[in-house]
């Protein structure tokens, strides 16, 4: 369980981001390229210098020594040694996690099976195909049986079959109690997540259950919902539906993190509430799940200035 708020200095890459996620869920972090997804994930792992805010991961500040073995991180570009074989890579990284002897072999065999690379275990990673290559990187992250798995676009550029297989693996991990934070700029991946974080331009547009987002925006797919949050003009016909939906997500001119119906507010909310006084004027003053249906359509053009809408439209086409 982790709550997170990051504000960064001179050129804000991430602006006032707050969210919490329950354990054992697949949380999809979605947004166009360059909107700050990687930065957000890096701050969850604790390798990003933050100007302000506090990131709490599994009850520790992000990057704490206690988390080094409990959080797995899969970078966007696969970071494994291309001149070593799959097994050599896995053996080394498991040693780097502090595993010894049979535990190490056990972990290596387990993850090789998990990512279905047994047939290529003795091949140098550099000779594998792109999909296999990134699966090696995923396998490394799985070595320590992490409780939180942070993955930066793990399925982008893979063929549909492998994506399907990977999502099966993700789902199984989640069922076993692992929390997964998966970023993607491909909106249809969102349909496989439990919870969604929608981002753009370093701001969080929504943080809620997938079904809530759909109900709120009145769209059939997350892609459509995302477009509605970004460009209120799109799909105006269903405007009445969205205005009566329960307030699961909200966005305004201010980058106002959506009041999530959280059963999972992080225990250490001290630094979060103090770091932004303006937040108190947000609708969060009423309990989030009892927010009355807005009388106005939520995502008015005037409320959500959108200088990059045209760029965005090419990135993900609405229905």
């Amino acid at each position: 369980m982790y709550g997170l708020r990051v504000t960064r200095g001179d050129r804000p890459l991430l602006d006032d981001i707050s969210f919490a996620a329950p354990r054992g869920a697949i949380v999809g972090l979605l947004g166009p390229s360059g909107c700050g997804k990687t930065t957000l994930l890096r701050s969850v792992v604790g390798i990003q210098a933050c100007a302000a805010g506090h990131v709490q991961v599994l009850g520790h500040p992000a990057g704490a020594a206690a988390l080094e073995t409990r959080v797995g991180y899969v970078t966007q570009a696969p970071s494994v040694y291309t001149d070593l074989t799959v097994l050599e890579n896995l053996r080394y990284f498991s040693a780097a996690l502090g595993l010894r002897g049979w535990r190490r072999e056990n972990a290596v065999v387990r993850v090789v099976k998990e990512v279905d690379l047994a047939d290529w275990a003795d091949q140098p990673v550099g000779r594998l195909s792109g999909g296999q290559y990134s699966r090696v990187s995923l396998a490394v992250a799985l070595l320590g049986s992490p409780e939180l798995l942070v993955m930066d676009e793990p399925t982008v550029g893979l063929d549909p079959l492998i994506r399907q297989e990977l999502w099966t693996v993700f789902r199984r991990l989640a069922n076993e109690g692992t929390t997964l934070l998966v970023s993607s700029h491909v909106m249809d991946e969102a349909d496989r997540c439990d919870r969604l974080l929608l981002m753009r331009d370093g701001r969080l547009l929504a943080s809620c259950e997938r079904s809530e987002l759909l109900a709120h925006t009145g769209c059939a797919s997350v892609e459509g919902a995302f477009m509605r949050l970004v460009r209120p003009g799109a799909g105006a016909a269903s405007g009445t539906a969205s205005s009566t939906a329960s307030g699961a997500a909200s966005a305004s001119g201010r980058p106002d993190p959506v009041p999530v119906p959280t059963d999972s507010v992080p225990p250490s909310s001290g630094p979060e509430t103090t770091s932004e006084p303006a937040y108190e004027s947000a609708p969060a003053s009423t309990p989030p799940d009892t927010v009355p249906p807005p009388t106005q359509p939520l995502f008015d053009g005037g409320l959500l200035p959108d200088p990059h809408a045209s760029f965005f439209a090419s990135e993900c086409r609405g229905p």
Partner: protein, 263 residues
Amino acid sequence: MRTEYRPSVVTRAVRTARALPLTPGITLATAQRVLQQIVRDRGSVALMLAIPCMLMVILKLMFDDADGAFERIGPQVFGIFPLIVMYLVASVSTLRERTSGTAERLLTMPVQRLDIVLGYSLAFGFLALLQAVLATLLSVGPLGLDIKGPPYLLMIIAMLGALLGLALGLLVSAFARNEFQAVQFLPAGVLPQFLVCGLFVPREDMSDGLSAVAKVMPMTYAVQAAGEAARHDGVTGLFVRDALLILGCVIVVLLASAATLKR
């Protein structure tokens, strides 16, 4: 909370080793992995081991007629060639580690910075040892390099030179954005030392400014120690002092390069 906190096996294994700035097991595993990588690349290994030998042969042929010149120059280059060779290999391979994201990934694991730096040092130090033994055996044997001191002193100088090159390479990889820059740092950082180290002109004959510069360059001491080994039987005090100075430099530079590894 759906699942309760369960300390994993890994957490317990690592917690015990936290008191040290390095974890011996991880350091050794790193050294092993670096060696594995180098051994995969047979071309590099062959070049690393053969280049100092080849240079010694060329030197011998060059000074074949000049009487005593090979005896004077030969030992001194033992402090120089391994340094340059090892610098290149170390800077490029650690640069690759930094730019490919693996270093960053390791630092999100219970790997500490000294684990990486010392792992590299151990692996390349082993190669440096092989290189030094080969070059010394070749020079003293077939090439007939005649030195007064025992040959193992030359090996020590070659080792220290190689370690210094390795440490400088590790440090430089922090400042170089790519391989081109890392290679460019060779003329910038190593060749000036090469020029003023006393190989071409004795340090006493240089201008005051230059000889002062030479005094703070670690390569000067490698060359001086090699000269000591060639001119005296047994180990002299100057040799020991120079060797310790170089070793001190190696340690300082290694610590500095560990500090440049950031999370």
